[in-house]
Amino acid sequence: MGIRSPQGVQGEGDGRAAPWDTAAALVRAAQNGDALAMDELLTLVTPYVTRLCRPIAPNDTADAVQESLLAVFKGLRTLRDPQAFYGWVRTATVREAVRVARRTSAEEPADPADLARLGGLRTDADGELSADVRDALARLPVRHRAVLVLRELEGLDEATVAALLGVPQGTVKSRLSRARSSFRKAWSR
């Protein structure tokens, strides 16, 4: 798994417990049927799930978030290592977001002209993508969006992205290179 911390997760560098420690304690309690802990965990993780879903399923973000959270909490009892909660949430969320996005997306190839103002997946202080970047991302095919979000936004390496999406590493490499070249072409216009 990647070493970068999940963006927008609270509790980092401000003297409080690391987000995965906070989450791990709540996961353990929730696994024992503590509904109040589960509700806190839901509040804690919803912004992170939303940030992952928004670029992958820009037209169906609310659905993608709900489906992801349902999958995460339904399977919570099967998570053996509570410390691995965020990585586990990321896997479930990307899978659900891609599934929801594919339901409605026409899967048309990206038009470079649509990407004119895209300069990379930079985020603001809250870990949010700017609106024009989101617009441009929305026009990419779902599979390219998922790869870009995991690689650029989450900072995962190609092998981890491949494992998460269930595709060979070579596929990740080629999708990434095609998506990036769309950006570059658009940028040079």
Partner: protein
């Protein structure tokens, strides 16, 4: 989205708790009236849950409270309660109860949840056996609608 829509949030908790009771319905009544019934725990909960004689809630508007449930059999059970607009989550050592509501198309979407806590099932039969099942959930929602219509 889940953080802002209480009904969606309760649906996720129902999935997470593998709740034995969960029901969700559209009620053709204004949200304010429906939630006024649900939030009035001390007066309304014993009318909504047939085997509950009393539900003692300390006065005040705080979101976190401790309440005491008294069953028809006289058994008592202490509950942690989280209450905010459109949202109520109650938990004892043995069981979990929840209600959620949100305005929807001129009416209200209302949801109810009941679940047992897996580590402490046995002494919970007095509530568990009766709380279980979809029919119970529907009946609960129907009673909420009846009470709200009277307001």
């Amino acid at each position: 989205m889940s953080s802002s829509d209480p009904v969606l949030r309760l649906r996720v908790l129902a999935a997470g708790l593998h709740a034995g009771l969960y029901a969700e319905e559209h009620l053709a009544l204004p949200y304010e009236r429906v939630w006024a019934v649900a939030a009035d725990l001390e007066a309304e909960l014993p009318r909504l849950v047939p085997f509950l004689r009393e539900f003692r809630v300390p006065p005040g508007d705080t979101e976190r409270k401790r309440a005491l449930a008294v069953g028809r059999s006289g058994l008592t059970e202490s509950f942690e309660v989280r209450l905010s607009p459109g949202w109520c989550l109650m938990q004892s050592r043995l069981i979990v109860g929840g209600m959620a509501a949100a305005p929807e198309a001129g009416g209200t979407r209302f949801a109810v949840l009941g679940a047992t806590r897996p580590t402490a099932l046995r002494p919970a039969q007095w509530l568990y056996g009766r709380l279980l099942g979809e029919r119970r959930g529907r009946a609960f929602v129907d009673r909420v609608a009846e009470r709200a219509a009277l307001r």
